[in-house]
């Protein structure tokens, strides 16, 4: 059994996020009491994940702030999806904690969920519904600030003309695009994307790269796993390697 991976990268929200962002702290250890309005940031401290008696990672620290893209890398089974699910609040870590804006996730759950867009392996697109119906429903349940209209989001993802076709009849890549359109219909600062490029063709990959870069430039945060090469030019990309 390989030794458990340690998080070897720590990235802090030091980069000014667009013209509107003010000066930001670089010291990650200041507690929330001394900071009345902490900048948006997601931090993980000392995370541990055990699956089937195998330690996937231990003592993993990571942080991502406005304007950053954090790419989680590692071979199959190294715990990338587990890490993202822990960061989403879907599963609990064996040890350690996740903090949003300096507060433990359990205490700010509703606020965190209003800031988060998650596109997982199973992307939650209903086959019986059309892309438009899927997006309308997701927007109704998602709450929080909304972004562009479902129709425009689909057009941006290259699905113009497929709005009223049941998703069941679309290809896998097209369904993935429907799932990713969710990123545009809800305005969320934090994107957590688990293998978003799976089944996408070259133009689809380019669209997603563009979405991520634009989001980061506008002060958003992105956590992403992918096995495909992804070009994120012009954005502050940080890599976190699991299963070293």
């Amino acid at each position: 059994m390989p030794p458990p991976a340690r998080g070897d990268v720590l990235c802090f929200a030091t980069r000014p996020a667009g013209p509107a962002a003010g000066p930001q702290r670089t010291d990650p250890t200041v507690d929330e009491a001394s900071e009345p309005a902490p900048p948006r940031r997601l931090e993980a401290r000392g995370l541990e994940c055990v699956r089937n008696d195998r330690v996937l990672f231990r003592d993993l620290d990571a942080a991502v702030g406005p304007g950053y893209v954090l790419q989680v890398e590692g071979p199959n089974g190294s715990g990338k999806t587990s890490l993202l699910r822990i960061l989403c609040g879907l599963s609990l870590p064996g040890a350690g904690e996740v903090r949003w804006n300096g507060q433990p996730l359990e205490r700010v759950r509703a606020e965190y969920c209003e800031s988060l867009a998650y596109v997982g392996h199973r992307h939650g697109v209903k086959g019986e519904l059309t892309p438009i119906e899927n997006l309308r429903f997701q927007r109704a349940v998602a709450g929080g600030a909304s972004g562009v209209s479902p129709g425009e989001a689909l057009t941006r993802l290259g699905l113009a003309g497929f709005e009223d076709v049941p998703c069941r009849t679309l290809s896998e890549g097209q369904r993935r695009r429907v799932a990713l359109a969710r990123l545009l219909t809800a305005a969320r600062p934090l994107w957590i994307l688990d293998e978003p490029l799976t089944a996408l063709d070259r133009t689809g990959v380019a669209v997603v790269e563009d979405l991520i870069c634009t989001h980061a430039r506008q002060g958003g945060m992105v956590l992403i796993t992918t096995h495909q090469p992804i070009r994120l030019e012009g954005s502050a990309l940080v890599r976190l390697r699991l299963g070293a």
């Binding site: 879907l90 969920c113 199973r122 939650g124 697109v125 519904l129 709450g143 929080g144």
Partner: protein, 230 residues
Amino acid sequence: MSAGAPPGPLAAAAALVRRDLTLFFRRRAEVLNPLLFFVIVVTLVPLGVGPEAATLRAMAPGVVWVAALLAAMLSLEGIFRSDYDDGALEQLAISPQPLAVLVLAKVLAHWLVSGLPLVLLGPVLGASLFLPGRAMGALVLGLLLGTPVLSLIGAIGVALTVGVRRGGVLLSLLVLPLYVPVLIFGASAASNAAAGLDVSGPLALLGALLALALSLAPPAAAAALRISLG
């Protein structure tokens, strides 16, 4: 439209009910199966026990209720299974709305397509077993109070077992003991009415079970879902 106020829990729940009803409507076969089962079981009974009106009349409340209970169990998996398989459940779990409210919305949609038809079919099948007219009211009222309890209790069981492959047997073991009081009070309300006795006792107990299930089942199922997803 993009600048509107963020939808609250009630708007989200309404959207969820609407979506689930659309989904059920678009996969009708799945919904019709338990109803067909209900009808077939009740119509087979006279073939098995003989056509004597007196025997059938005595058995009618119990037969209708047992068949309704088994039909409700057949349809339970539908509450969460497909949402779990395609990841929609994860999206609900990380939405800012209270998960218990969303669970209640899903159970309501499920009851509308699986429980309400049982209530409507109940008197027809009762009549086919010579259940006297004066018992119909108690049978319908009992089913109306009882079938939502079956859906609510079932939701907890499905939420606990949705992550388990082939959790069907486990689900029956978990849920059946909790269904027994509903069966007893529901069937006794109908047979009391058939015998001309007072029905307020069993119906009041069914109502109490419904109040209990309505308040306790959604948070319990929401907590169970978080465990299943984690």
